[in-house]
Symmetry: C2
DNA sequence: TAATATACGGAGGATCCCTCCGTTTTGCAA
DNA sequence: TTGCAAAACGGAGGGATCCTCCGTATATTA
């Protein structure tokens, strides 16, 4: 029987957190540069850490893929307040839509590996859908309130349009095309319905 | 400068063709038994050939995956005339629908690896869609002509229904469920609209 | 049957996966 | 500050896999 006189956990070590982030960044770079099958040792090499460190943070390849994806979604969500602070609402929405293209770009690469270990992956999917929906809803509301875009915009429709713009396309050159269409979409949004 | 006095190629060696087929069968078995990541050496072992022979037939893992898929589709197409010869048209259609479940079963496994080497894979997809569409159209037409099924059946709808039955389902037990639904579907088809 | 194009088989070097453990660093308390 | 223990680091190394290369065996043709 053990007492637990000090349930207060120790503060997580700074190097641990730093290396974890380095690994996630290196993994994303590796996926986009080399492909979904980058060797885990190369990811560790890019991050400047030993292979042992890699495996302590991510016990399986799946784990690092999931971490990269989760980080992408979080970035998308966290960008919202920051964009709203530094740009007018309409411009914030526009910039965010371009961030979304980045997000889709990496998602297209790692998607085949995301669903592999079924089960809890559906949780991941559900929570990411929610985060993204909230993000775009907030941005649209603010842009409507500030008069930057027309009033009759359903955030879900806009989201679907962006997904369609990014997914329905052929493999090569989809990204440039998606960005052009996003700009077009934004022009349309700005035509106020008065 | 070389002449080409005898453009007639030599007949392909029998052992080569045989081993190629053995490898495709072994690969399919390996994918379903072990998973998409079976080692290529195990596939060669199952086929009873050396690893060198494997690589001569399939230079990459992708190549063998594609060959397995192509073979599945071909089997589906080739089954049509044979079924029509040995069974009444309605039964032929019913049997073929069950073959289709087998096809989906392996497709579900290897699909993540099919799109990997983009580009010509779209050709593969297009041609397989065509083969399958032709197959089911032929069967439906014959079954209608023989009076085995009702007249108002659109082969494309039927195909979509079968895909939906097989794909919309959860991971475990989908196959049994799909087969039950297929039988149900067939019962519905047999109710003549007169 | 002889000749030769074709296919076979597997050894071996390179790479990758993952574990294990001695060493180093960091946070906390004295 | 200093000392200590928890936490993290790094990389050697065994096992598995990938893929090439080349000597040997076999089918086809004449």
């Amino acid at each position: 029987m053990k007492r637990k006189p000090a349930p207060q956990a120790r503060k997580p070590r700074a190097d641990g957190a730093r290396n974890r982030q380095l690994l996630i960044d290196a993994a994303k770079a590796g996926f986009t540069d080399v492909g979904l099958n980058v060797s885990l040792e190369e990811i560790a090499r890019r991050a400047g850490v030993g292979i042992g460190t890699f495996y302590r943070h991510f016990p399986t390849r799946e784990a690092v893929v999931e971490a990269v994806y989760r980080h992408e979604v979080e970035q998308l969500a966290e960008a919202v307040p920051q964009l709203l602070q530094t740009s007018p609402a309409g411009e914030a929405l526009h910039k965010w839509m371009h961030l979304f293209v980045d997000y889709i770009a990496t998602k297209r690469i790692i998607a085949p590996s995301l669903g592999t270990a079924a089960g809890r992956s559906s949780n991941l999917h559900a929570s990411s859908v929610e985060l993204i929906t909230n993000a775009i809803s907030t941005l649209v509301k603010r842009a409507i309130a500030s008069g930057d875009v027309r009033k009759d915009i359903d955030p879900s429709d806009l989201l679907r349009a962006m997904v369609g713009v990014s997914y329905g396309n052929p493999d090569t050159g989809w990204e440039a095309s998606a960005r052009r269409l996003i700009d077009l979409l934004m022009d349309g949004l700005r035509r106020k319905s008065r």
